[in-house]
Symmetry: C2
C-alpha cells in the first residue's frame, strides 16, 4: 500500500483542494491519549466514520474499514467509553450489588453474571456492601455511573434506595430471595422455606434436641423463622441458639458451638446459617470427641465446594448459585434488548442434601 503523504489523499470523496479537516487547535494538548479525532485526521476521514468502524463496521465500506483499523492499530487508539456512554446514553455497564465476595456463597453467581454480560458487551461494576448500611450510599454512587441494568442481592431495601433505583428506570434483578413487592424482576428462593425444610429434615430423621447457630443477617433471620415455625409445629423448640454478627467464619462457628456446649446445651443436631459455620461446629465436635452424625448431626447452608467430599458428614442445602447469575443475566439482557423477559419472578428453589446417611 502506497504511503499517503498528506492526510486527505484521494479518499473521502474530496473533490478539490478543500482542506481535509477543520484542523483542531494545532498542538495536541490534553491527555496525550489518542482520540477518535486523531485517528480520523490521520486516516483522512471524518470522526463519525471512525466511530462507525469501531461500533458498526457493517455501515462502512470494507476498504475504509480496513484502512481505518490499520490506523487504529498503529496509533493504539482506545475508545473513550466515558465519552461514548455520555453521548449515546449507553454506558454498557451493569451494576452488581452484593454483600461480599469473601464468604464464597456469591462468587459463582457473580462469575456467571459477569461472564454472560461480558459476552453481550457489558461490564459489571461490582459494589460490595459488606452486610452493612452502606447499601444506600453504594447504590447512589453506582447509579452515577449510569448503568443500563442493576443486579442486587436481597429484596429489603431502604425507601430511599428503592426510590433511587426505581427512578433510574433501568431493568433490575433482585436476587437470592423472593418477595411480593419486587422492584422489577426477581431470581431467588424462599429463605423461610429453606429454614422450614431444614427443620423438617432434622425432625424426620428423628432428631429432637435441635440447636442452631446463625449469623445476624436479614436472610438468615428469615430462614430461622421458617425453621422455628416447623419446630413449633412439631411441638419442639430450639434447645440452644447462637446468633453472631456477620460475616461468618469458621472460627466464629466453632466458638459458637463451644459456647453452646459450655452453657450445658446437649443437642443431637445443630442447624447452621452457613456451611462455614457448620464447619466450625464440626471442628468443635471433633475436638470434643463427638461422633458426627452418630452423636451430633450438623446441617449447613450453601453447599460450598468444601462441603462435599471432604466433609462427608455435613448435610447442607444446595442452591444453584451459578444458575442465579445466569438467569439474572438473561433476564436483564432480554429486557435490554427490548424483549420482555419470560418471567418476572423466578424461584430457583433449593435442595436439601443429606450427607449424614449417604
Amino acid at each position: 500500500m502506497p504511503r499517503r503523504p498528506r492526510a486527505n489523499a484521494g479518499r473521502t470523496g474530496a473533490r478539490d483542494g478543500r482542506p481535509a479537516r477543520p484542523a483542531r487547535p494545532a498542538t495536541s494538548r490534553s491527555t496525550g491519549s489518542v482520540t477518535l479525532e486523531d485517528v480520523a485526521r490521520i486516516a483522512g476521514v471524518s470522526p463519525i466514520t471512525v466511530s462507525r468502524v469501531v461500533n458498526r463496521p457493517e455501515l462502512v465500506r470494507a476498504a475504509t474499514v480496513e484502512h481505518v483499523q490499520r490506523v487504529i492499530a498503529r496509533t493504539g487508539y482506545v475508545p473513550n467509553l466515558l465519552a461514548g456512554g455520555l453521548a449515546s446514553r449507553r454506558s454498557r455497564i451493569v451494576a452488581a450489588i452484593v454483600p461480599t465476595v469473601t464468604n464464597g456463597i456469591f462468587v459463582e453467581t457473580i462469575q456467571a453474571l459477569t461472564d454472560r454480560l461480558w459476552d453481550a458487551g457489558y461490564h459489571v461494576v461490582l459494589g460490595l456492601t459488606g452486610y452493612t448500611a452502606r447499601e444506600e450510599a453504594l447504590v447512589t454512587e453506582i447509579l452515577g455511573r449510569r448503568p443500563e441494568a442493576l443486579f442486587i442481592v436481597g429484596v429489603n431495601h431502604s425507601p430511599v434506595t428503592r426510590r433511587r433505583i426505581l427512578s433510574a428506570q433501568i431493568p433490575v434483578v433482585e436476587a437470592w430471595d423472593l418477595t411480593e413487592t419486587p422492584l422489577d424482576m426477581v431470581v431467588g428462593f424462599s429463605h423461610e422455606k429453606v429454614g422450614a425444610a431444614v427443620a423438617e429434615h432434622l425432625v424426620a430423621k428423628g432428631y429432637r434436641r435441635i440447636a442452631s447457630v446463625w449469623a445476624d443477617d436479614a436472610r438468615a433471620a428469615r430462614r430461622r423463622r421458617g425453621f422455628l415455625e416447623v419446630l413449633a409445629r412439631h411441638g419442639l423448640e430450639e434447645v440452644g441458639v447462637s446468633i453472631t454478627p456477620a460475616p461468618s467464619t469458621q472460627r466464629v462457628g466453632r466458638q459458637s458451638m463451644a459456647d453452646l456446649l459450655s452453657r450445658g446445651v446437649r443437642p443431637d443436631a445443630v442447624a447452621c446459617s452457613s456451611d462455614t459455620f457448620a464447619q466450625g461446629v464440626l471442628a468443635e465436635a471433633r475436638a470434643r470427641g463427638l461422633a458426627v452424625p452418630a452423636e451430633l448431626a450438623v446441617m449447613g447452608f450453601g453447599d460450598l465446594e468444601f462441603a462435599a467430599d471432604t466433609v462427608p458428614a455435613l448435610s447442607t442445602v444446595r442452591i444453584d448459585r451459578e444458575g442465579i447469575g445466569r438467569l439474572a443475566a438473561e433476564a436483564l439482557l432480554a429486557h435490554l434488548e427490548g424483549k420482555p423477559p419470560p418471567r418476572k419472578v423466578v424461584d430457583v428453589g433449593f435442595q436439601v442434601v443429606d450427607r449424614a446417611t449417604t
Copy 2:
C-alpha cells in the same frame, strides 16, 4: 425558610433584573433523569455552584450549600459520573483484572482492594479473564473506561497488553507474583520459592516418593519448576505427576489422584497446586483407605479457610491474600495522590503451614 417565588430571588449576587439563567430549551427532553442544570435552575444558582456543592462544598457559602443540597435531595439528583469523568479526566475508577473469583484464592484480595479504594472514593471495575487469552481484549475494553489505576494479577502479559497498559499512563500494580521487569509496581511473592519450599518441606519430613497434581496455569508451572529443582537437588524426581487444565475443582483433584494410583504410582506424599486439588486428593485417599498423613502426606496451596480446622491433615502454603489487596490499594492511592509509594516492589512472602504433625 421563605419560599422563593422566582428562580433568582435575591441570591447569587445578581445586581439587577438580569435574567436568572439562559433558560435551556424550555421542555426537558432526553433521559428524564435530573441533571445538574435542573438542580441549578430550581435552586436559582449556576450549574457550577451545584457542581461545587457536590464536589467541593468548602468553596461555597454554607447557606448556599444547604439550600442546594435540599434541592438535590428533593429532586433525587444523582450526578452523572460519566459526564463528570469526561470533563475532569478523573473517572474515579480503578480496574482490577483477575483470572477468576470462583476458586476463592483471589477473593480476599479483591475485597480488600475494593474496600480500601471505595473508602478513598474509587470504584473498582472487575475484569475476569478466566485464565484464558481473554486478557488482551479485556485490558483494552477496560482501559476504555479510563481507569485512573490498574490492578492486575500476574506479570506475564502479551506485548500488546504491555504496550496498551503502559500507554494508559496510570499507576499499575501487578500482583500475586514477582518480576524483574515490572510495568510499574509489584505486590506478590515468588512462585519458584513457594514450589521450592514445598519440596524442601516434604523432603525434610522424610518423604521420598513424592507425586504432584497441578492445574495448567502459568504461575502453577513456576511453582512446579521450583519444586522440581529442589527435588533434583536432593537426587529425587517426581514419582508421578498430573497436569490438568484450569480451573481447579475438587472433583478434578480427586480424579487426578485416582489416575495416579491406577497408573501404579504409590507416593508417600502428594503436592498440589491448590488446596482445592488437595482436598480432592484427600477424598480419594480416604476412599481408598489410605491414612493421612501416616500413609500419604498431602500438601495444598493457598490456605483457604476450609483448609484449616476441618481438614487437619492438610498442610499448605499460606499467602497473605488480604494483605496483597490492601498493599496494592495503598500503593495505587499513594501514586494517585502524588506521593511516590515507598517501594516499587513488595514481596509479601509466604508461609509453609504444616498440619501433618500439629
